[in-house]
Each structure stands twice: as structure tokens, then as C-alpha cells.
């Protein structure tokens, strides 16, 4: 897995709520720390990236946020404007107004129109080599396949026109496994694991893009060895419990209950991870990052996540 950050474009996806943005931000931070000029792009602009990196507003224009790290938020209308300006040499926004409005309608009916503006912009940044690495905090599992297949979909639907001539190189760039990889983020829980398995199947079946890695976020620590757990269970029962309560205080029952919960949650997660491993069968690298018991969920968490990822990727 050591080569993960040597690719040029990493598309980070996963079920909603698993920490996709945190993982994308952490990958970006790690790459920058390792010396790569890196751009992190939030595709579903919800403002989570700005939070993870603790910067003000992140807009379409990339802005420096850390040493060697830039951040931007995708905006399909601005992407269209940039495309018209750079590729078709249509200046100004005067004529884009009606086209931007019609975009909603066209994008509704035609697969890939909105998506190509997103994927196209990412690919453009890669091709122009403004950065060593582009990390996309991409759409959730539900929409990612549509985005990755957008160039092909456009190609199938649009028989002539300027857009069509632009899809070929984007598709090639996505299909090149040395350049582009998908990173599926999950947590050790039932639904995220199930969605991860389904998504990996769909990406290999329907898109030309390679799944480079699975990142399992929020893995709880293993508290005890097998022998230690037996000791722990003894402590929760009389007569050991009474002696412990007498020695430490009656509230020690709550402390034991908290540890019991931690053991149970860890075990339940392990079962789901077992299912995940059985399904992907060593074919895809899996990185595990620990649950971070932190106060905030900002740059401090992102840095710790980057550190944990760094250790896993090394």
C-alpha cells in the first residue's frame, strides 16, 4: 500500500457518516507533509472540509491551507464557466447565465452532464500538473459510480459537440491505475461494510477505475488479551467485584460497565470487519485507523488521522 500517495488522483468515497471528509483531508495533509504539492477538493460542498482543516470558507478557487496543501470546493457552474473560457474561448459570464440555468434541466435528463463537470475539473488539475496529487472528497457511494462513468456516458449519448471531444482523455486518465485510484472509506459497522462491499463490486463491474484501498475509520482499540478478558470478567462478578468496590469505591461498577461496553463494541466491529475481509479476499489493501478519542473534531483530529494513516501506509 506504500504507493497509494504516488498516484495523481485519489477519489475518496464511502457511505454518508463514516468520516469520508476527515479521511480525504488527512490523506491530503499526509501527502503534503511527505513533500507532495497536494490539492484537496470537496465535491459535495457542505463545508465539512473547511472544518476538518480549520480554515474559513473553501471556494472553487484553490487556496493554500497548509504548507504544500491547497483546498477547493467543487462548483459545477464555475467549472462550466472555466471550461467554456479555457476550452471554447468563450469569455465572460454574460452568456453562461442561461446555459447554467439550462444545465439543471439537461443534467436531469442526461447521465453525466453534471458529473463530467466535476470529474473533468479534477482530471484537468491532474493533467495540467498544477499539483503532485489531487485528493477528491468525492460523493457518497450512491453517486460515485455515476461520476466515474460520466465520460463514457457522455460519449454514448452525445454524438457531436464540444463536450464529446473532451471525454476521451478524461476517461483514459481515470482508467490508468498508476494515475487514479478510488479509496473507499468505511467504519466497522453493518451498513457501511455492506455498502463498501456492494460499492467495490459496482466500481469493478461498471467503471474503468481501480479501487486502490479501503480505509476503515474509527476502529476501537482491543482492550484485553484472551486471558486478560477472563480476569476482567471475574472482576465484574462477586466475590471479586465486592472486593474491588471496597478497595476503590462503589462507582467502580460504572467504570467496569464502560469497559464492558468498549469490549462489546470492539467485538461487534471485528465481526463486521471479518465479513469485509472475507469479501475482498486480500485483493484490495485495507488500512485501519483508530477511533480518535478527541475533544474537538478539527485540525487536531485530522493531524492525528494523518499520522495513523501514515503509519498504515508506510
Amino acid at each position: 500500500m506504500s504507493g497509494l500517495l504516488d498516484r495523481r488522483l485519489l477519489v475518496v468515497t464511502g457511505k454518508g457518516g463514516v468520516g469520508k471528509t476527515s479521511v480525504a483531508a488527512a490523506l491530503g495533509l499526509l501527502a503534503a507533509q511527505e513533500g507532495r504539492r497536494t490539492l484537496v477538493c470537496e465535491v459535495d460542498a457542505k463545508g465539512d472540509l473547511a472544518n476538518a482543516l480549520e480554515v474559513g470558507e473553501v471556494g472553487f478557487e484553490p487556496r493554500p491551507v497548509q504548507h504544500r496543501l491547497w483546498a477547493m470546493a467543487m462548483h459545477t457552474e464555475e467549472s462550466l464557466q472555466e471550461y467554456l473560457r479555457l476550452q471554447l474561448h468563450i469569455p465572460g459570464a454574460s452568456r453562461v447565465g442561461p446555459l447554467a440555468r439550462i444545465l439543471d434541466f439537461v443534467a436531469t435528463a442526461a447521465p453525466g452532464v453534471r458529473e463530467i463537470l466535476t470529474v473533468g475539473k479534477l482530471a484537468y488539475e491532474v493533467r495540467e500538473r498544477h499539483y503532485d496529487l489531487v485528493v477528491a472528497d468525492a460523493s457518497a457511494s450512491g453517486h460515485i459510480v455515476g461520476q466515474l462513468t460520466a465520460p463514457q456516458a457522455i460519449n454514448d449519448l452525445v454524438r457531436v459537440g464540444a463536450i464529446r471531444s473532451q471525454t476521451g482523455w478524461v476517461r483514459d486518465l481515470l482508467a490508468d491505475a498508476a494515475t487514479t485510484g478510488v479509496v473507499v472509506t468505511t467504519t466497522p459497522e453493518e451498513m457501511p461494510v455492506r455498502e463498501t462491499i456492494e460499492l467495490i463490486g459496482r466500481i469493478s463491474a461498471e467503471t474503468p477505475v481501480e479501487v486502490a484501498a479501503v480505509v476503515v475509520n474509527r476502529v476501537l482499540p482491543e482492550l484485553f488479551s484472551h486471558a486478560e478478558e477472563a480476569l476482567f470478567e471475574d472482576l465484574r462478578r462477586p466475590p471479586a467485584y465486592e472486593r474491588l468496590a471496597a478497595a476503590v469505591g462503589p462507582e467502580v461498577g460504572d467504570v467496569l460497565a464502560a469497559a464492558r461496553l468498549a469490549v462489546t463494541l470492539r467485538r461487534r466491529g471485528a465481526e463486521h470487519l471479518e465479513a469485509l475481509r472475507a469479501e475482498i479476499d486480500g485483493a484490495i489493501d485495507v488500512a485501519y485507523v483508530p477511533y480518535l478519542f478527541t475533544r474537538g473534531q478539527g485540525l487536531r483530529t485530522t493531524s492525528q488521522l494523518a499520522e495513523a494513516l501514515g503509519a498504515e501506509l508506510a
Binding site: T108, R159, V160, E190, R194, A227, R295
Partner: protein, 394 residues
Amino acid sequence: MTTGTLEPLLAAKEIVVFCGPGGVGKTTTAAAAAAMSAASLGAKTLVVTVDPARRLADALGMAGLGNAETPVGPAAFRAAGVEPRGELWAAMLDTKQSWDELVHRHAPDPATARRILANPLYENVSGRFVQSHDYIAMERLYEVHTSGRYDLVVVDTPPSRNALDFIRAPERMAEFFASRLLRLLTAPARSRLVTLASRPFYQLADRVLGSQFIEDIAEFFLLFQSMYEGFAERAEAVRRLVRARRTAFVVVTTLETTPLREAERFLATLVAEGLHPAALVCNKVLPSYLLDPAAEARAERLRTEAPRVAAALAADGGDPGAEVPAEALARVLAEVGDSFRRFAVVAKREAEQRAELARVPDTVVRVPYLDRDITDLAGLLALARALWGQPEER
């Protein structure tokens, strides 16, 4: 922080919509609320869910089922040790199938319906249109409510960026069909006369997308427009229904930073739309004893004085024959104390974030972290007891 109850809401309303950010257990919460309403409130209850976990689907006896409303048999309740006073029905939302049914209903004639269904662009609209799932959920809600078959309909909403997507889906769909831009787009197909005003637009669109493609789209929309009347009427009816007093919204979230921020936006949006968010459900709340200073002090003692405590326990005359190595015991005690401290950090942060919520509904319900996955009706009902504000079991 005391915990409220959803019981009065589910006892009084006819429609309860569960919404909120993704990944917080919304589907399970909605199913649990419905199950308890059927079991203890005597309501004939339907739960409409989007994409339940396999085991939840099994728990509801709806594995492999699609759009059809299916009763959860009394056997499942008996297995959970409950004699239900009402009935529990469940249905899964199949967006594609629902769309097909809609086209059949709204198309002016069967031939048009067939042409729409056969159009290659149709699959995209029905399957991928961002608000397509939202619209279908609303449509389904209206359909089952007006059928008069149920006392209570509990709706689990699709994951969407914000509450507005869901609430406004019917209006958006109607606006979509009424739009001037849509007429502009379909104009060339209706007449060869392109007005002077729209010419630059067509030139630009042609250049980017190609004229053939524009014509394909135009033809499709023209077909779709024949269904306008039906959609507009229905959208208005749905709009009235969700704003009616018989409908209540419940926002579900966890206390993690990101979902909580999204939930806050959901609440604000509902209020701004003139809807009443009746309750907030905080799911997966860590046990309150993690906030107890006395417990924390004990944990700290275990952490820092583990060898001494272990030695004391060993010296205090263990069971004869039970050889407990004091070193191993010390390690266990220290780990127990450490684990408490770690979780206490999270519990404090979450309690603080909950307290800082700007505007919360009158009812706030806390659901504790369940230490097992829900695999049957008994599990759902156990979760529902928390929704009913009954104290958590240790």
C-alpha cells in the same frame, strides 16, 4: 439532561416523518417507533423504509420484498414476547418501480406511457435525478395516507443533503414541468420557429452539447410534459398534506460533530418552511455515567494505582486455588481505567455539543448506544423503549 418520549407524538399524529443526516440510524429508529406504535398503541401502522440493513429487513420479515405493503406476522411479535394490540405493516421504497407506476398513472394514454418508459433518458430521470427518491417518498406517503388503510404512517426519508430536498420535492417536480426553460428547450420540437431572443442560447447549447443531443432531450421532455397536469395537482396535494397538523417531523442524529451540525440545519430548515419539527432523537448516546465525576475519580485511581489495587485484591484472600497473577490483574485494571477516561472525553464533548444546540424541539429523546445489532423484533422494541423515554438498562 432528561430524556423525552416520542409516545404522545406517535399516539396522536397520522404521519410521522423521520429525517436527518445519513448514517445515524434513521431507518432503524423509524422502524422501532412503528413497531412500538403497533405493539402498544394499538395502531394499524405502516412503516415505509428506504434501504434497510439486511437484518432489519429480516426483523421486519420483509427480506426480498419490494414496493408491496406486507404485514409483519403475529409470530414475530410472539417471538419477541409481545401480544400486539395493533398491526405492523412494512414497505420498502423501490424508486424505479414507483416511477413506472407514476408514468402509467399520469400519462394521457398508454401509448405515451410506453414511449416514455422506452426512452433511454427516462431511466436516468427515474434513477438518478437528485430529488427523484425524495419525490417518490413523498408521493408514496400521499398515496398510502389517502388510501385510508392505516392509522399511522411512519416514513423513513432517503439520505439527502438537507430537509428541503425532501419537503420541496413535489413542488420542484411541478416547477420542473412548468418551467419556462423547459418550454424553451422543447420549442424547436414544437415548432421550427426559434425566436430571436433564444437564438444565442441555442447556438451556445449546440456548440457545447451538439444539436442532435439537444433534440433528443427536447423530445423526451415533450413527452414528459404531457404528464404535467397530473404532477402539478399531486404536488399541491402533497404540499398540503406535509404541512397539515396531522403530520409531524422527527429529526434523528447522533451527537458526533458533523451529523449534529447537519441536524441543526435540518431543524432550521423545517422551521423556515413553516413546518413543526416535533422532536429531536439523539441516537447512540454514550452512557451518562461517563459524565459522573465520582466514576471518573474511580477510573483515575485504577489507572494510576493499578498495581496497588491489584495487590490489595490478591492479598484480600482470593478463592483458594484461583491463582491470579497480580501483574496481569494490574494491567487489566489500568486498561479498564484508561478505557473509561477515553470514552469520557467523547461523552463530555458530545454532551457539550448537545447543550450548545441553538434551537431544539420541545421533545428531545436520547437513545443509548446499543451494544448489539438489531436482528429481530425484540431488538427493535428494546430500542423503541428508549424512544418511549423508558430508562436504559445496564
